[in-house]
């Protein structure tokens, strides 16, 4: 009886029943908050950013629901292809991409300007999850296995870092490393590479773009150039700090309303939220993210296939990285590196990637009993 249920496909209604509704509600809630925040960045009117964000959220959310009905086997089957296609897009972007504000990250797909590096954040997890799905624990630490995993990881990072886009490459690296770590790689390799990283740091700095060096210097002391490179972080801290316990009120964030906040639609959307809704609002937002991460990890825990388990764990951790890197950045705990806050930040590619990630997670939930050969 039980055996049967392992192999027979669940019916449509069973699938519907197996949806993780708490996760779904949290995503919707986050979507609603993001739309209201976007409305606030437009100065209390429904202008370009609000409209675009609403449509992107709705389209990709519905797409996510439909994609959730795909069997987890499908993702497993096409994992490498997915990775290769995204990698191809990355190469394409490096060659023929659209240039904007000093970097070349986007490719024009006519209905959307796609940023393949965002998709790579998901693709790297999918790809490594499939790779380690088959590899037995005692083979994980062999040179051959490690070498292939590193190639899979380093290849996209190379393309992203030369765009140049430090923030996204770090997030891709972290997402990939988490999966490699979960797969059981010996901790000593992490220690070795960490030491190697420290030693190579001075050389790495030589390769950084001037604006990236400036950002690091600015992070160490924002006041060294308060009207130049330090401006963003100083203004961001002022906005967050002036929010206080309960915030200045919806649509009343003076820092964003009077345009002291740079990039308030994208990387600094949390600053605007924290200014208008204060410490309490920020805690609620953080809580929603924590619930989402918790649900994703829980789905990983109940998944029977290694692929689903690795993906959910990887993706849950990735969301954690996105959120913490973004928040630490706007709160002045990390240097400014471009990294959006999932769902909250304006940007189609990021939204698309995030929703694909949730679709795979949801598929893993629906098919959590599914074994993959």
């Amino acid at each position: 009886m039980q055996y049967n249920s392992f192999n027979t496909q669940p019916t449509f209604f069973q699938k519907l029943k197996n949806f993780d509704y708490i996760l779904l509600i949290c995503i919707l809630l986050l979507g609603l908050i993001s739309i209201l925040s976007m409305y606030s960045t437009d100065g209390g009117e429904i202008l370009f950013h609000s409209k675009s964000h609403i449509s992107k959220f709705l389209i990709f959310f519905i797409m996510m629901i439909f994609m959730s009905f795909l069997n987890i086997k499908f993702w497993h089957y096409f994992a490498y292809l997915f990775y290769v296609v995204v990698l191809f897009f990355l190469v394409w972007a490096s060659l023929y991409g659209i240039k904007a504000s000093g970097s070349q990250r986007w490719i024009n797909l006519y209905f959307i300007n796609l940023q393949p590096s965002e998709l790579m954040k998901i693709a790297i997890i999918v790809c490594l999850a499939k790779y380690y799905h088959r590899i037995q624990l005692n083979k994980v630490n062999t040179f051959q296995v490690m070498f292939v995993a590193l190639v899979i990881l380093i290849l996209p990072i190379m393309f992203v870092i030369t765009q140049p886009d430090l923030g996204t490459s770090i997030l891709i690296a972290l997402s990939g490393l988490v999966v490699i770590w979960l797969a059981g790689i010996n901790i000593k390799y992490f220690v070795y590479s960490f030491v190697a990283l420290l030693i190579s740091m001075p050389f790495a700095i030589a390769f950084l773009q001037p604006y990236q060096k400036l950002r690091i210097l600015t992070f160490l002391n924002p006041d060294r150039d308060p009207l130049g490179s330090g401006y963003q972080i100083i203004q961001s801290k002022i906005a967050v700090g002036s929010g206080g316990l309960s915030g200045k009120g919806f649509l009343k964030g003076t820092q964003s309303y009077l345009e002291f906040l740079p990039e308030k639609h994208t990387d600094f959307i949390f600053t605007l939220f924290a200014e208008e809704h204060g410490f309490l609002g920020s805690l609620i937002l953080l809580l929603i993210y924590i619930i989402i991460i918790y649900r994703v990890l829980k789905i990983g825990a109940v998944s029977r296939s290694y692929f689903a388990k690795l993906f959910c764990y990887g993706y849950g951790s990735a969301i954690f990285f996105y959120v913490t890197v973004n928040m630490s950045m706007v709160l002045g705990l990390l240097p400014i590196v471009g990294s959006p806050l999932p769902i909250m930040s304006y940007g189609g590619s990021s939204m698309l990637a995030t929703m694909i990630g949730f679709a795979i997670v949801m598929s893993a939930k629906i098919n959590h009993k599914q074994l993959i050969a």
């Binding site: 700090g241 002036s242 316990l245 002291f260 764990y313």
Partner: protein, 651 residues
């Protein structure tokens, strides 16, 4: 079996490692929450202040300058609404195009045009450029008509100083003009209040009373965005207007003075002999103070600057003249007071006297014959005054002169340009010229020539103090608050009427009614005062008096005076032989004409002094002006009295 074992182990490994990451996540989230807490709760105040500093800007508005009123409350310096054209280069898309358009519409001269362009290049793009400080109504409507095409041009309603009586008050009030760097540095009040384009007093009372007049700034608080653009006004605090200052001057008399001095270089001062109030004070030629408000144009400025009649000099206060015969009442008084002469002392005038080989001439070649004090004063006999001056000595003469207000500033520090003049004595000459005094110098000092120099206002004060019976008064040009002038004067006048001329002795008590200490007695014997006054009466109202032709017989207007003709160069024997008429002498070598007078004689109330530079003689040029002036002064008296009472009631 083996595989499954491995499989279980693999799942365990993954789960265990996930658990480690999960624990790390909690730590990181806790860190972020701690950071949020520290920014939003602990340091909230600091960041709230910084945020307000970001968004709030204060704009100081130009203060509204206090007005000047004349004695009757007529506005003599006012603030007018003017239309200006401002441009903020930052807000202009195409500055060149805008300027060319404006140049055509306003017909700006090439010179001004390049000045504006220069100014634009020298200042920050968000600072306002004032294209025109005073648009005519026609220009203003024209600008508004083309405004759609003039993006960035801003017609603005602004406030500007206005002097409705043009040249009549220029030397008294001075004028305002844009504050220079020096003005700002030297005056703390201006520094605090300064806004771009602020106008401050440059001369006269406008300068002296800057602190009282300037007022305080209104303040507008705006919310601004990151680019400094004003988003909305938050609140507005009105400034306090500058103090209104009331002068003692009567505009009607002031205007007549200006008319009487037309085309001449000279001055008229009129003073109330009891209160010291200056009723009129005009220096001629004058110029329109309104010319300076928006920066005077070069042509007008050169015209004023190069005028040989020196319109820029306030001759009432800074003009120094030998008093000539107008000093004679003081010389006579000094001689009487010191017991050198009495009313019967006589001198035989033969037209000249010789002393130590020098000849000293009387103005009348043939001589006056035997003269006593009264006839000597009446006919202004120089020989008589040579004689009494010689007996008196210059040091005693100086004492009396100083007592009556010569050689000292009349209005203290009220005017920056007032001069002290000079009353010489033996000590002065020793200290300043290093030579001993010679008797001949005493002689010419006795007829108001030589080293002695006085301002017209000093002569006016001297006359007033002779007229009021010899009591010190304190001249003023500003109506003081809380002074019960009219009550005291009314009381005083009534007393004076009862006792007629002899009653002048009483004046001291009357003036001292309010403040005995202040109205110090300037004489020893009131009989001497009376003698001098009678001699002055004779000079104007008796046959052969030097100003007899300018007399008024109606006792209501009747006045007493003394003419003066002061030489500007030494008269040689050759000159004396030629005996040229005034118009035959070059302008700059002609004598100054002076006249001092007080009236009405029976019950004196006003004193005046008139100086006409290079006017010929006092009797021909200066005295006739007094005749015209006294009529108006006396006619205006009743009104002035009424107003004085009203002023007292108000305070």
């Amino acid at each position: 079996m083996l595989g499954e074992n491995f499989g279980v182990k693999k799942a365990q490994t993954i789960n265990r490692r996930m658990f480690i990451i999960g624990a790390a996540k909690f730590v990181v989230f806790a860190g972020i929450i701690a950071r949020l807490f520290s920014l939003q709760i602990t340091e909230n105040k600091k960041y709230l202040t910084l945020s307000d500093k970001n968004r709030l800007r204060e704009w100081r508005l130009p203060p509204i300058r206090g007005k000047f009123l004349d004695y009757f409350g007529n506005v003599i310096a006012d603030n007018l609404n003017v239309y200006q054209l401002h441009v903020i280069p930052e807000e202009v898309e195409d500055f060149k195009y805008l300027m060319v358009r404006l140049k055509n519409i306003l017909s700006i001269s090439d010179n001004d045009f390049t000045k504006i362009i220069k100014k634009k290049n020298n200042q920050k793009p968000w600072e306002t450029i004032i294209i025109s400080k005073n648009l005519t109504w026609e220009q203003f409507t024209k600008i508004n008509y083309f405004l759609h095409d003039l993006i960035g041009a801003k017609p603005v309603l602004s406030v500007s100083r206005n002097y409705p009586f043009n040249e009549n008050y220029t030397h008294v009030l001075g004028y305002v003009s844009e504050a220079s760097e020096k003005d700002i540095l030297n005056n703390e009040t201006i520094k605090i209040t300064h806004v771009p384009g602020l106008k401050v007093g440059k001369t006269g009372l406008e300068k002296t009373f800057e602190k009282e007049l300037i007022g305080t700034n209104g303040i507008q608080r705006y919310e601004v965005n990151a680019y400094g653009k004003r988003i909305r006004q938050l609140d507005h605090t009105d400034g306090v207007n500058g103090k209104t200052i009331q002068l003692t001057i009567d505009t009607e008399i002031q205007k007549l003075c200006n008319e009487l001095l037309k085309d001449m270089a000279g001055s008229i001062s009129v003073m109330d002999i009891y209160t010291g109030e200056i009723v009129a004070m005009q220096s001629s030629p004058s110029f329109d103070a309104n010319l300076f408000l928006f920066g005077i144009n070069q042509d007008d400025w050169q015209l004023i600057r190069n005028d040989p009649l020196k319109p820029l000099v306030n001759k009432t206060l800074s003009g120094l003249y030998s008093p000539g015969s107008t000093i004679k009442p003081i010389v006579a008084l000094s001689a009487l007071e010191n017991g050198i002469i009495d009313e019967n002392f006589k001198v035989n005038c033969t037209g000249k006297i010789e002393m130590y080989g020098q000849t000293y001439h009387c103005w009348k070649k043939k001589g006056h014959g035997i003269v006593d004090l009264k006839s000597a004063m009446k006919q202004s006999c120089d020989t008589y005054f040579y004689e009494i001056a010689r007996k008196l000595g210059v040091d005693r003469l100086k004492k009396t002169s100083i007592k009556f207000g010569l050689g000292e500033k009349v209005l203290n520090e009220t005017f920056g340009n007032e001069k002290k003049g000079l009353i010489p004595d033996t000590k002065w000459k020793k200290n300043n010229l290093g030579k001993g005094w010679v008797i001949g110098e005493t002689l010419i000092t006795g007829i108001g020539q030589g080293y002695i120099q006085t301002t017209p206002l000093q002569l006016c004060l001297m006359t007033a103090q002779l007229a009021n019976g010899g009591f010190k008064i304190y001249p003023k040009i500003i109506v003081e608050e809380n002074s019960k002038t009219s009550e005291n004067i009314k009381f005083l006048m009534n007393k004076n009427l009862d006792v007629k001329n002899n009653g002048l002795q009483e004046t001291r008590e009357l003036l001292g009614f309010t403040n005995k200490e202040r109205h110090e007695r300037l004489f020893e014997n009131s009989k001497n005062m009376k003698l001098v006054r009678e001699a002055m009466f004779a000079s104007t109202n008796e046959v052969r008096g030097t100003s007899y032709s300018s007399r008024i017989e109606d006792p209501k207007y009747q006045f007493a005076g003394k003419t003066g003709t002061s030489q500007v160069k030494r008269i040689t024997e050759a000159d004396r032989e030629l005996d040229l008429k005034t118009f035959e002498i070059p302008y700059n070598e002609r004598d100054h004409a002076l006249y001092i007078a007080f009236g009405p004689y029976k019950n004196p109330r006003y004193a005046l002094s008139i100086v006409i530079e290079h006017g010929g003689s006092g009797s021909s040029t200066a005295a006739p002006i007094a005749k015209k002036l006294f009529k108006l002064i006396i006619d205006r008296h009743e009104l002035r009295e009424k107003k004085s009472k009203q002023n007292d009631l108000e305070t």
